[in-house]
């Protein structure tokens, strides 16, 4: 490689690195003091505003470090609004899955299966189940039946926790209940954090069944 080729190569490298540098600096300056807000809105054809200003449904935007109101609407769907406080946060995400407001909205989802998938992606379908799963992830592994335990483990609606689940251990002997707890621990869950009902257990201290 001769001198002029080296010089050309050096200039090219400097121009490229300089471009990267200028871009990085400009990005840093442009977003200094701002927070990144990601929008996950389904259906993506919804009209979305942040503080009244329109944005694409699945955009990532930079906003001031303060409270922001995200509003999503679509004809035949129920409007949804969420407020996010980014005062002390570098980033945040708003996920909204619009629910059909009438038969036309239901029909719209039937006619556009891709929008249904979008709603599932942002947790818009069967939201109660999603919340329950988040509160008690063990239920994702249930039911379990072990005839050698012997025990069965299932779950039901908690009466103590909103959106919570109660773990029900049944078809069990005293050893089975011990084995059921051992299985729960083996799955990585701490019985202390669970509401467990030993449905076969009649507490000798009380002479009645008990829930724990």
């Amino acid at each position: 490689m001769n001198t002029s080729q080296l010089r050309a190569l050096a200039i090219l490298v400097i121009v490229i690195l300089g471009g990267v540098f200028v871009y990085s600096i400009s990005q840093f300056i442009a977003h200094h003091g701002q927070s990144q807000l990601s929008l996950q809105i389904a259906p993506s054809s919804a009209q979305v505003t942040i503080d009244g200003k329109t944005y694409p449904a699945n955009a990532t935007v930079y906003v001031t470090k303060s409270k922001h109101v995200v509003h999503a609407s679509l004809q035949n769907f129920t409007d949804e609004e969420q407020t996010i406080d980014l005062s002390n946060r570098a980033s945040g995400t708003v996920s909204i899955a619009l629910n059909p407001a009438n038969a036309a909205g239901e029909q719209y989802l039937s006619d556009h299966p891709e929008y249904q998938l979008e709603r599932e992606a942002v947790g818009g379908t069967d939201q109660g189940a999603q919340v329950a799963l988040a509160a008690t992830p063990l239920i994702n592994k249930l039911p379990v039946d072990n005839i050698n335990g012997p025990y069965s483990i299932d779950y039901g609606q908690s009466t103590l926790q909103k959106n919570g689940s109660v773990i029900i251990i049944s078809n069990s002997s005293p050893d089975g209940r011990k084995n059921a707890i051992k299985w729960i621990r083996q799955q990585g869950f701490d019985p202390t954090t669970l509401e467990i009902n030993y449905s076969d257990f009649s507490n000798p201290l009380l002479g009645t069944g008990s829930s724990q």
Binding site: T3, L6, R7, L9, A10, I11, V13, I14, L17, G18, V20, F21, S24, I25, F28, D85, N88, R89, A90, G92, S158, L160, Q161, G164, S173, P174, R177, K178, I181, D190, P191, T192, T193, L194, E195, I196, Y198, D200, F201, S202, N203, P204, L205, L206, G207, S210, S211, Q212
Partner: protein, 206 residues
């Protein structure tokens, strides 16, 4: 070395240094202030759950450390008569305060238990007429000796319900009171939110 090559290398180093600076500043901006207060402890430091070395030391109670969102562990040495320990915490999307309290050492709690065991057994006797169906295990005191947990080992003849039970008592105004009524196979923090979780966990692991 030829001059263009030198210029190119210097330019590359300069640009990389600036990019690193921009990245560092962005990284710092992503960190949140966490105020850490502690009592009866010293040598307090913050670790990642798997990290062997401290990522931040806490020189005095009320110090602020800056941490990214994530899970952390505070480890501390107890002052004389207090236990060493650790406490997990999570940094979310906003600043927070984490309070750490070193409790009495195991040796001190064991000594206290010998003084309290008669009163504890009496409280159980008074609360449960059928406590005679169980052997009350020695158990342990926790925290400042104001929490007690033990297991009850069945000795009756009900073979379908001969499970070992667990119970926690709390000392209130000089008297021991059952805090997890009724005793059960496992104790849940959902059922008993007023009982410290670490006490429930310790009793569930007995």
């Amino acid at each position: 070395m030829r001059r263009p090559v030198v210029v190119m290398v210097l330019a590359a180093v300069f640009v990389l240094a600036l990019l690193w600076g921009v990245s560092y500043i962005s990284d710092q901006r992503a960190k949140l202030p966490v105020t850490i207060t502690y009592t009866n402890a010293h040598a307090v430091a913050v670790y990642t759950p798997a990290g062997p070395s401290a990522i931040a030391t806490v020189p005095s109670s009320g110090s602020i450390v800056k941490l990214k969102s994530g899970n952390y562990v505070i480890k501390y040495d107890g002052d004389s008569g207090y236990a060493n320990g650790k406490q997990a915490f999570t940094v979310g999307d906003s600043p927070k305060t984490v309070s750490v309290t070193a409790y009495y050492s195991d040796a001190k709690l064991a000594a206290m238990l010998t003084q309290e065991s008669a009163a504890i057994l009496q409280a159980l006797d008074q609360k449960y007429a059928r406590i005679g169906l169980y052997d009350v295990q020695p158990g342990k005191l926790y925290h400042f000796g104001d929490w007690y947990g033990t297991t009850l080992v069945y000795k009756g003849n009900d073979y379908f319900n001969n499970d070992t039970l667990r119970v926690v008592l709390h000392e209130e105004n000089g008297s021991w009171v059952v805090a997890t009524d009724p005793p059960n196979i496992t104790l849940s923090k959902i059922i008993y939110p007023a009982v410290p979780t670490d006490v429930l966990q310790a009793v569930n692991n007995q």
